[in-house]
């Protein structure tokens, strides 16, 4: 069964075709990697899915409900949460209060939200930073906070936008473990990632886009051998030099 279905979504910015007739499905319990060179339109896809942009064409369904044209908060309340590539913590309130916002926005009582936030903070490894202002956290921990807040909304689908960018190898490994853990708890994940080690380790399937169009789809082992993908990343010359 598919959790998230996007069909032929198209988004233009003036004359620029940012996303062109992109279709894909995210199955229940799946981790799907979305990769592509810089400027390929990955974040635009996320913005369309999460309601920050409305695609001109196409349709999107979350658990069978149409989500095109809905406000971001409505889509979140339907069970799809996202993180931002450029992290957006609430800077002057504590880590705990950051997570509380996500928990409270979903109809829980104050008491429930508090215990839930505490659990999530511990599960992402921010226990010691609980009472610090979010602006004091270094980047790797801010990325964790970003995930913790999204998890507090109890999503069925999680959109992760480059949560491993800027992390060192050890931190990438920790993040991989964390995402696997979240996935095993029953959350489907759509993952935008440039850190190949991370996306290869996590993704059950991958789709590759370039100039807003899907150029390949399949299991990671196939994707890395696909000539179109290699061309998109390394250029035609690389292929001809090889061949």
């Amino acid at each position: 069964m598919s959790n998230l279905i996007a069909t032929d979504i198209t988004k233009r910015f003036g004359g620029l075709l940012a996303v062109n007739k992109l279709s894909f499905e995210l199955a229940e319990g799946e981790i799907l990697g979305l990769i592509g060179p810089n400027g390929a339109g990955k974040t635009t896809v996320f913005n369309c899915l999460s309601g920050f942009l409305t695609p001109e064409e196409g349709s999107m369904y979350l658990g069978g409900n149409a989500i095109k044209g809905l406000q971001p908060y409505q889509i979140c309340q339907m069970g799809m949460a996202r993180t931002f590539q450029i992290v957006k913590p609430f800077p002057t309130i504590s880590v705990f209060d950051n997570v509380m916002v996500g928990a409270l926005a979903h109809g829980t009582s104050l008491q429930e939200a508090k215990s839930m936030s505490q659990d999530i903070i511990e599960s992402v490894g921010l226990r010691k930073m609980r009472d610090l202002e979010a602006q004091g956290l270094p980047l790797p921990l801010r990325k964790r906070l970003e995930m913790a807040r999204a998890l507090a909304t109890r999503p069925r689908v999680l959109l992760l936008d480059e949560v491993m960018a800027g992390l060192n190898p050890t931190e990438v490994d920790e993040m991989i473990d964390l995402i696997n853990q979240i996935n095993q708890d029953g959350v489907s994940v759509l993952l935008i990632e440039h850190v190949m080690r991370g996306v290869m380790a996590l993704s059950q399937r991958m789709i590759v886009i370039n100039y807003g169009e899907k150029i390949a789809e399949g299991v990671p082992a196939e994707i890395v051998k696909n000539p179109l993908v290699i061309e998109a990343y390394l250029g035609k010359e690389f292929l001809s030099a090889q061949g």
Binding site: F52, A81, V101, G102
Partner: protein, 321 residues
């Protein structure tokens, strides 16, 4: 926390018995301290907590003052009830303003301009409506009675304004602890992130501006029945809008006690220096002094005086474990 509760109760107790020892003039200064703390707190609900800057809050003072006074003069309605009518009108206008601002994504300076425009438009309309006294304003007849919300001497005003200030403190405390409070702070910190977490930012922005306008308009009713004269320029004017934001900024924006601390510092300074300079024939110089204090605070204590007050008080108020 326990010590803080005791400390605050003690201050409240002192303020309750204080009038026994004060003359009418000093009482009047305290009335203004409480009044400006209350107005500052009302403005703080919107600007301090949601981060949307309003430079037109005089609008709601004016609406409260004019509505209750009009209802009192024409229908004989007590300002005690008129304040709710004024509050509803003010909240209605605020919701319309909020709808335009929040629905169409006017942020930052554009929202500020919207708030100024609404206040100025209302000032001009009131200036041209005969029934509201047009340019010459409205004089209130002085008929002291509880029903009329008018009293001779400052003592009743002292307790009413004290009640307003304490009431606003309790209201904002409750808001801070509630979902609403947590959501509007999230909006202030990052509106997009709040949306992405499932917060209906439009709804909570609207709630905040309506509450803020309602509270501010009650101050207008008090003001009208304290100074007995309404003039469009003074009730809706830019100078009032600016006057009322200074105390929460100096005290600490978006904090529970900021407006109060700011008022306890600035109001006596303004009142006493006004009287002092006026005696020497230097009317208006107090505003210069006032401006200098505001600039110094903004330069050297951008988060407000409350940061320093807390640095001093927190260690003293720590509970023994």
């Amino acid at each position: 926390m326990k010590r803080y509760h005791i400390f605050l109760s003690l201050i409240l107790l002192i303020l309750v018995v204080l009038p026994l020892f004060l003359d009418n003039y000093i009482l009047g200064i305290f009335v203004m301290v409480f009044f400006w703390a209350y107005v500052g707190q009302s403005w703080n609900v919107l600007t301090g907590y949601t981060g949307h800057i309003s430079l037109g809050h005089a609008l709601y003072i004016g609406v409260g003052a004019y509505t209750s006074t009009y209802l009192a003069q024409v229908f004989g309605l007590s300002p005690w009830f008129g304040m709710f009518a004024g509050g509803v009108v003010a909240a209605g206008i605020a919701l319309f303003l909020g709808f335009l601002g929040f629905r169409f994504g006017l942020r930052g300076v554009y929202f500020v301009i919207l708030t100024i425009a609404f206040a100025e438009i209302t000032r001009l309309i009131v200036s041209h409506v005969e029934a509201l006294g047009s340019f010459s304003g409205i004089f209130l007849d002085f008929e002291p009675s509880f029903w009329n919300f008018q009293f001779s001497g400052n003592l009743p005003y002292y307790y009413i304004s004290l009640a307003l200030m304490v009431g606003s403190l309790v209201a904002v405390y409750i808001i801070e602890q509630s979902k609403l409070g947590r959501f509007i702070v999230a909006i202030r910190e990052d509106e997009e992130a709040a949306q992405a977490l499932g917060v209906n930012t439009f709804k909570y922005n609207m709630l905040a501006i309506a509450i803020s306008a309602f509270m501010t308009s009650i101050a207008g009713v008090f003001y009208a029945n304290y100074i007995f004269y309404l003039h469009p320029n003074s009730m809706f004017g830019m100078s009032l809008s600016i006057e009322l934001i200074l105390r929460p900024i100096v005290g600490g924006l978006g904090t529970l006690f900021g407006p109060l601390i700011g008022s306890f510092l600035l109001t006596p300074l303004s009142e006493i220096s006004r009287a002092y300079f006026a005696k020497g024939g230097l009317e208006g110089l107090h505003l210069v002094l006032y401006g200098i204090v505001a600039i110094l605070v903004v330069l050297f204590m951008p988060k407000g005086i409350i940061v320093y007050v807390r640095r001093f008080l927190d260690p003293l108020m720590k509970d023994k474990k």
